[in-house]
């Protein structure tokens, strides 16, 4: 892989509310290289989005605050940049694609206007030049008739086209890092595949590093190089794509894989859900947040958070279950190929 773009070490983001401290992200570490795609996987409330927003310093403060950890963009510490410098980072070095394309575009501004604005914010370009680039970008993300479309308003675009426009906006300043926060969740399944293709194509073209936040393991299997599985604000497992799918070590990863529909099952079988609810982030248990829902729970799980255990090259897991027992369970899991399209 290429040059190291991003090093996150021990990131903790908490929200100080009247009800108590919401520990949304606790000691999360990861890295991102050029042309690499990192998938962050986990259910709602696991801290995926908060982790990503912390990178851009877009956590509303108050009540939110990055309380710990270092965020290095190349060799610049994002936590110590001034607000003005941070504004230059946003959109220019790190750009973000949001979840819901129906609400992420300003309804009163023309599409071209919104893309051109991003260009003019960070590059020394005139209005005409920026609009021409906007049309080019729309064309590049696969919107037909871009010359005409650039003059239209978001309501004249369909969901898939809006997400393409969002991607065009995000790549307009050729960012090093592209954060896609559940970019396909609000879209049709058929459009989802197209959007993932567009993101992948843009990544190749601009040689960006991509952080893909999703709860769709199918999407992750398609484009991610490595995966971080989050639960209750913590990283429970971290590893290369093959490691996570072929050789998963954490019961939560097993649970996620078990709840996927299988392509190799001819007969109708029920999906295996993970029982119970995610933990309340205000009253996080002292130990592993997954303890209450884990079928392999040990007495120690509720009291103490396990140290990171390196189980393979670039593959780490935080779990108390002994490796021997994990190997037994893994043997019963279906093959990786069963999930991939």
């Amino acid at each position: 892989m290429g040059e190291r773009l991003l090093t996150v070490d021990g990131l903790s983001t908490h929200f100080f509310t009247y009800a108590g401290v919401v520990k949304a992200v606790n000691g999360v570490s990861f890295t991102l290289d050029r042309k690499e795609t990192l998938g962050i996987v986990g259910e709602s409330g696991s801290g995926k989005t908060v982790a990503a927003l912390s990178l851009l310093r877009l956590i509303p403060d108050p009540p939110g605050k990055v309380v710990e950890g270092s965020l290095l963009l190349g060799d610049r510490d994002l936590r110590t940049l001034s607000d003005e410098e941070m504004r230059q980072v946003r959109g220019n070095d790190i750009a973000m694609i949001f979840q819901d394309p129906m609400t992420s575009l300003n309804p009163v501004l023309k599409i071209g206007n919104q893309i051109a604005e991003a260009i003019m914010l960070h590059q020394d370009k005139g209005k005409g030049e920026a609009w021409r680039m906007a049309a080019e970008l729309l064309d590049r993300v696969g919107i037909p008739d871009a010359e005409k479309r650039v003059n239209q308003y978001p309501f004249e675009f369909s969901g898939g086209m809006r997400q393409r426009a969002m991607i065009a906006m995000a790549i307009s300043c050729n960012p090093d890092i592209l954060i896609a926060d559940e970019p396909t969740t609000a879209l049709d399944v058929t459009i989802q595949a197209q959007i993932i293709d567009v993101i992948e194509e843009m990544q190749q073209r601009y040689e960006s590093g991509v952080i893909l936040i999703t709860h769709d393991l199918g999407v992750v299997a398609e484009i991610a190089d490595k995966v971080m599985v989050m639960y209750g604000g913590r990283t429970v497992e971290y590893g290369g794509i093959d490691e996570i799918f072929y050789n998963p070590h954490h019961p939560y990863t097993w649970g996620l894989l078990g709840s996927l529909p299988r392509l190799d099952e001819v007969e109708k079988t029920r999906l295996t859900p993970i029982k119970g609810q995610p933990p309340d982030l205000i009253a996080l248990p002292g130990g592993c947040p997954f303890a209450g829902r884990c079928s392999y729970e040990l007495p120690v799980c509720r009291d103490q958070w396990p140290e990171l255990e390196i189980v393979g090259p670039g593959h780490g897991v935080n779990c108390w279950i002994p490796e021997a027992e994990r190997r037994e369970v893994r043997a019963t899991l279906p093959h990786f190929q069963a999930y991939v399209r």
């Binding site: 851009l56 877009l58 504004r87 230059q88 980072v89 946003r90 959109g91 220019n92 750009a95 973000m96 949001f98 979840q99 819901d100 609400t103 992420s104 575009l105 300003n106 309804p107 009163v108 501004l109 604005e117 991003a118 914010l121 960070h122 696969g142 037909p144 008739d145 005409k148 308003y153 309501f155 004249e156 369909s158 898939g160 086209m161 969002m166 906006m169 058929t190 459009i191 197209q194």
Partner: protein, 327 residues
């Protein structure tokens, strides 16, 4: 239906197909009609409200008269009306009670023999000016402070909104009287006094909308692009909060015209010999008892009709932009 696709010739095949199906979806959803923009949609619903259309026509007529007089006031003649509005002619005012409406003076003449029709027309200019300029001043202040208050929240919000509360707490006319007494009478002081008092309405109205709009994803998207706070407030948030403000503007102009009339009636607004509707009502009221009804009637009717126009248009506009009333 490939013949409907006019856009797909340069793109790959699967993209063409997806565009087509998306277009079909839109047409299905809206019964074969392309979705309309905010203004087209509002106009479509406004047109069905007859009262609002009448209001709009009234506004258009009076604005045209006001504008024509404004332009004429820059010419050497100084007025567009058939007679000089300030020309005194005692021959037309026997016994000092004016003369009733006639063919040459359709609204009659006043106690100094001045043509009431000409005076009423010229007064239209003042009333329209007051409405437009006073509301513009109020808007300028309100639409800067309101969005800032709503967007930043916290202490900034408290200071601005408590100041607005102070403005609301004072009896309105009393407050205007106070300012007019300090500034002294005069046209520009009227604009200023009414304008300075109106900002709180717009600021508070707009702040409410800003609170909901600032939580929208496109605001966060703009922030993620590196847009500054001011850019976000005035380019991304403000334009999305304007619909209720337009309604308030229509109502506010009517209100400002009435306030000017009240001030002039109380003698601290427009000064003689200039004519405004309120000033005319104030001057001519005492002649009603002597039977000279025409002096008072015509400016009053003009005032009532204009304010009615603004308010019924404002009402219609509110109904047309209210998503809850959409069919």
């Amino acid at each position: 239906m490939p013949e409907r696709d006019t856009s797909g010739n340069q793109v790959t095949e699967d993209l063409t197909i997806s565009t087509l199906s998306e277009r079909d979806l839109i047409e299905d959803k809206y019964g074969g009609r392309q979705p309309l923009g905010l203004w087209a949609d509002t106009w479509r619903r406004l047109k069905r409200n007859h009262l609002a259309v009448v209001g709009l026509c009234i506004i258009a007529v009076f604005l045209a008269v006001g504008m024509a007089e404004e332009i004429a006031s820059l010419t050497p003649k100084g007025y567009l009306a058939p007679y000089d509005p300030n020309a005194v002619n005692y021959a037309l005012s026997p016994k000092g009670l004016g003369s009733p409406p006639s063919w040459s003076h359709p609204f009659g003449t006043d106690y100094l023999g001045r043509d009431v029709f000409s005076r009423t027309l010229v007064a239209t200019r003042i009333s329209m000016l007051v409405g437009v300029i006073a509301v513009s001043i109020a808007l300028l202040i309100g639409l800067i402070l309101g969005p800032i208050s709503g967007y930043y929240g916290g202490a900034v919000d408290s200071v601005i909104m408590r100041t607005a509360d102070v403005f609301f707490a004072f009896p309105y006319i009393l407050f205007v009287l106070l300012i007019m007494t300090v500034l002294g009478p005069g046209l520009w002081n009227v604009f200023f006094a009414i304008g300075i008092l109106g900002w709180a309405t717009y600021a508070r109205l707009n702040r409410g909308s800003v609170l909901s709009v600032k939580a929208m994803e496109y605001v966060e998207a703009a922030r993620a692009q590196g847009a500054s706070d001011l850019r976000i407030i005035f380019r991304h948030v403000l334009p999305n909060t304007m619909a209720p403000v337009y309604v308030a503007i229509a109502m506010g102009i009517g209100g400002a015209i009435v306030t000017e009339a009240a001030l002039s009636f109380l003698g601290i607004g427009i000064q003689a010999p200039d004519a405004s509707w309120g000033k005319m009502i104030s001057d001519y009221l005492s002649y009603l008892g002597a039977g000279s009804w025409w002096m008072l009637t015509f400016p009053s009717v003009f005032l009532v009709v204009t304010v009615f126009g603004f308010i019924s248009f404002g009402n219609g506009l509110r109904d047309a932009t209210d998503p809850k009333l959409k069919e």
